[in-house]
C-alpha cells in the first residue's frame, strides 16, 4: 500500500534526468571542477609543478609557459592551496571532454619583466586549448 503513494507521485512528476551538455547542469556550489591560472599574479616559482600528485603541470621558467595535461588533472586543488600568490582559480564547471589528449597552455609575457619603463600594462594572460 505504501508503494501506491510512490506510484502516484511518479505519474505526476516528470523525469529527473537533465540533457547535459545541451542543458545546463545542476552542479552544487562547492564542486571542484576546472582549474585556471591567472598569469598576472604568477611569479613562476614552480611549487605547483612540485606538488601535483599526478604530474600534470609542467613549467618552463625561461619562456614563462605553464602547460596543463587536462586528462591527468584530478582536480584535487593542491596546487591552488600551495600557490603563494593565490594565482590559481578553482571553478565549478567541469572541463569539456575531447577526442584527443588536450593540453592547455598559459603564457606570461616575459618582455614585461625585462623592460624597466613601460608605456602601460599589456594584457599578458592567455589560456588556449591546443589539440595534440
Amino acid at each position: 500500500m505504501s508503494m501506491l503513494r510512490t506510484v502516484l507521485r511518479n505519474l505526476v512528476s516528470g523525469p529527473v534526468t537533465l540533457k547535459y551538455p545541451n542543458a545546463p547542469a545542476n552542479i552544487p556550489e562547492g564542486n571542484r571542477g576546472r582549474l585556471d591560472w591567472d598569469m598576472e599574479k604568477c611569479i613562476l616559482c614552480g611549487l605547483c609543478q612540485k606538488r601535483c600528485p599526478t604530474l600534470a603541470v609542467t613549467m618552463d621558467k625561461n619562456m614563462g609557459i605553464i602547460t596543463l595535461q587536462v586528462h591527468r588533472c584530478i582536480s584535487c586543488g593542491v596546487c591552488a592551496e600551495v600557490c603563494p600568490k593565490s594565482a590559481i582559480n578553482v571553478g565549478r564547471e567541469y572541463s569539456a571532454p575531447s577526442y584527443t589528449k588536450a593540453l592547455r597552455v598559459y603564457e606570461k609575457d616575459m618582455s614585461k619583466e625585462k623592460e624597466k619603463e613601460g608605456t602601460g600594462p599589456s594584457d599578458a594572460e592567455k589560456g588556449s586549448e591546443t589539440q595534440t
Binding site: S2, T6, P28, N31, R51, P53, I74, G77
Partner: protein, 355 residues
Amino acid sequence: MSRSTLIPFGPQHPSFLEPLNINLRLDEERVVGAEINYGYNHRGMEKALAADFRRSIYLCERVCGICSFFHSTVYCESMESMFDVRVPDHARYIRAILMECQRITSHSLALAHTAEAMGYESLFMQLFREREPVMRLLNDITGNRVHFSMNTIGGVRRDISPEQRKELLSTMDGLEQRFSVLAGVFRKDATVKRRMVGKGVLTKDNARTYAVVGPVGRASGIAQDMRQNNYQDLDFRPIVRDEGDSYARSMVRVDEIFQSIGLIRTAIGLLKEGPLNVPAKGNPTGETFARVEAPRGELFYYIKAMGKVELDRVKIKTPTIVNVAALTAMVPGCEMPDVPVITVSVDPCICCTER
C-alpha cells in the same frame, strides 16, 4: 548412482558488478561444493603506493570507489602516528561525520543490489532515490561525489560551514523518515523472506575459522567492531545477530543505517570551531599498523618507511578477502538459483580485494 556437474558461475555474469568466478559442483539441483577464484582486476596498487608518500594520499583513495574515504583516513592515521602528530578534535569529528555519511551510501547500495538480485527492481530504484540527496550533499561539502580528497597528513582540508551543518541535519531527518518505509519492506515482505531466510547459513565456528569481519561476522554472532575503539565519546554499541543467514546480514545493514544517522546527529552537536590541520615536516621513519571499520569490515594498513620519500612496504588488508573465502562454507546445501542472492548478501567488493 549420481554424477555431479561442474558449472562455472563465471567472471562475466549479469548479477555481479565485478568479475568473480565461482565453480559450483552440483548434484541434480543442489550445490555440494564450491571453489572461488578471483584475480581478474589486479592493478599493482601496493607497488604504486610505495613510490612517494605525498602522492599516495590521493592514490590510496582510488583503491576502491565506495569506501574511498576509509582508505584515505586509515592511510593518514598511520602516517600521523609515524610522524607523531596529534590531529585536532575538530578534524576528528569532521572525519567521523564523513565516514558515517559514506557508510550510509554504501549500505543502501548493498541493500539495493540485494533487492535487484532477487528481481525486485522497484525496491532497487527507490533505494537509489533515497541515496541521491546524500551524494549531492557530499559533493557540496567536499568537492566531489566519490573521491573526496579531503584528508591530508595532519587533518582535513576543508571545513563544514554552519549552513551545510543545518542542511545535513534536515537531510538526515528526511532520510530517516523515508527509509523506515523501505526498511519495513525488507523486514516484512513475504517474497523477500522466502528468498533469504535460512539460506546461506554461516555457523559461528566456521565464521571463526575463516576469520570473517564486518556485517557478515556480526550476523553470525561475532561481536567485534573497530568503532568501539575510535568512537569513545559517541556512545557506540555494535549490532549483533546470531542466525547467520542472508536475512540476518541484510537486517544488520538496515539497523546500521539507522545507527549511523544517530551518530551523525551526535557528532554535529559536538562540533566546535578549531584548527583544521597541523603541519607535518620531514620524512617518515618506522613501521605502524592502523585499522578502521569500513562498511564491509575491518580495513588494515601496514606501512614501513626508512626515512626517505619512498616507502619501503605498504600492505593493505581489505575485508572482502576473508568474507569471500567463507562462501565455500555458506553455499553447500542450497539450490542453484539461491547462489546469486547469497553472494550478493555477503557484499563483495572485488576491486578492494585485488587492489
